[in-house]
Symmetry: C2
Subunit: 304 residues, 2 copies
């Protein structure tokens, strides 16, 4: 089934203890689309870029079944640019540059063909824009998944809460869940956030895995322990892409299938961090993904 | 099968965001013995206390099938005392008082009846004493499990490495695994630590669960998300007690059974943190433990 996703399509410059990149293609919607493209098609992106963007990268996405008709190309303007440097532990980073550029005046307009999409993935972006995208859908999607971050809790909490009230699944990290709920215990935080609207809450804990809360039940998916984490950029978006990709592919939004979706998302994220940027996501095979998922089975399963 | 354990039997005074205690009974061997007593008997403790100790607490342990013959009672001296205050996140704490008292001159002497114990649990204590205990065993135990902490890495690394070289299972936390191995990646850290001797490595990550590494394989057990963590004191020791308790009960030290042991240890630790000190460990039932283990099954299991 089709997926609509809104988010940034951008340039990143990344420095990690393993090396640094020049401007490479990144952005939430880019990672989501690459990741989801291994599960279903079309992936319909809504975004904005300048005419400085690397159009070969859009072609590469199109070749994966990604529809880029909803990506506005602003002539004479520059694409969103972010630059950051990761600390040795890879769990924290300093932002060196944030040039919003075209994002400053982004007003997402959905092509007609997007408006009855069945699965909607709202990448991390201004919640006012996430709401605009939801409001343009002519039929309520079967599932709306929303990613966000602490930045929007700090500067646009009311709008953020309105967006959250409109979605089925919220994905945030543990510190964000605590900030949003005012509760330190993640069990209590989940209850508060369920009250805000989302029936499903995914709490992402990076190298410590992810939790799925729903209706008093909880599921935990570990992160795969890796020899090297090369570049964590985009891991959360790649997770989201695999998560909604699996759900859209199967058309099943039961709790049991959400568990599988979390595992597929985690598997995709584990590939993502093994190389810089989107590189690892460009040459995966179904066999590699299945093998990776089997590593999660071996990692997590036990009999009593 | 029988377990021999060495470690502190002591007084703690604990302050958490939920309240504070006067002197209550604690110590690594106390938590290990309470926890393991739900799995097998006898649990043979080697330790030292002063005559200020609460002898009713020793009686309570004896009533659980714990043998306290190896606990030296030093007349006119005081028991080891530790006092600490947990921060709001419960993941970090300040030590307020450490009075070593009788521990300063502790020289563990094993009663004859301990010397052919099949399972040996070395609680966190001076590695020189851990070695002394191993050397007094007349037959090599079927399994030696050793807990330790960063303090001994800082001040007694050579002795610690000698002790580590003599054991089958090492249990440490993630930061300690990184410090001991000089590797940030836990996968690489495990390889380095296996080279030091232990065929099995358990990395405890507190609220983030625990990893078991063995022979290129890895298993992950989540921590149970709890409404409230009341007092984390002794959680690691309680984990160790449940871990070796299950192994001794079943007499099976295969990797598959070690996975189950990790889950039992995690279940016991999840009880421990729900109340102050050893309180929660004093009134468990087999049914409560089985139900808690089933919560871990629901938490971690998925089908693909």
């Amino acid at each position: 089934m089709s997926i609509v996703t809104v988010g940034t399509v951008a340039f990143d410059a990344i420095e990690t203890p393993f090396g640094k990149t020049d401007k490479i293609v990144g952005g939430a919607a880019t990672y989501i689309a690459w990741s989801a493209s291994y599960f279903t098609k079309p992936i319909n992106i809504v975004s904005i870029i300048g005419d400085d963007f690397d159009m070969n990268e859009l072609e590469a996405l199109k070749n994966r079944g990604v529809n880029t008709d909803g990506i506005e190309i602003r002539t004479g303007e520059k694409s969103f640019f972010w630059s950051g440097k990761y600390h040795n532990d890879m769990n924290s980073r300093d932002t060196l540059v944030t040039d919003l550029n075209v994002l400053l005046s982004f007003n997402p307009i959905l092509p007609e063909s997007y408006k009855n999409g069945e699965y909607l993935m709202l990448g991390n972006i201004d919640p006012a824009l996430q709401i605009k995208v939801i409001e343009q859908m002519t039929t309520r999607p079967k599932l709306i998944v929303m990613d966000t971050m602490n930045f929007w809790m700090d500067i646009a909490l009311d709008t953020l809460k309105k967006a959250i009230s409109m979605v089925d699944v919220l994905t945030i990290n543990d510190e964000e869940a605590r900030q949003l709920s005012g509760q330190y215990s993640l069990v209590k935080a989940a209850k508060v956030i369920h009250e805000m609207g989302p029936k499903f809450l995914v709490i992402k804990k990076g190298e410590h895995g992810a939790l799925l809360f729903h209706n008093g039940e909880v599921f935990f998916a570990p992160a795969l322990p890796l020899e090297d984490v090369f570049d964590p950029t985009g891991a959360g978006d790649t997770f989201a892409g695999g998560f909604i990709g699996h759900l859209a592919k199967t058309g099943d939004i039961s709790f049991d299938n959400m568990k599988r979706a979390i595992i597929y998302g985690s598997a995709m994220a584990s590939f993502c961090v093994e190389k810089f940027g989107t590189e690892a996501l460009k040459s995966l095979t179904q066999e590699a993904i299945d093998n990776r998922v089997n590593e999660f089975v071996k990692l997590a399963h036990f009999s009593v």
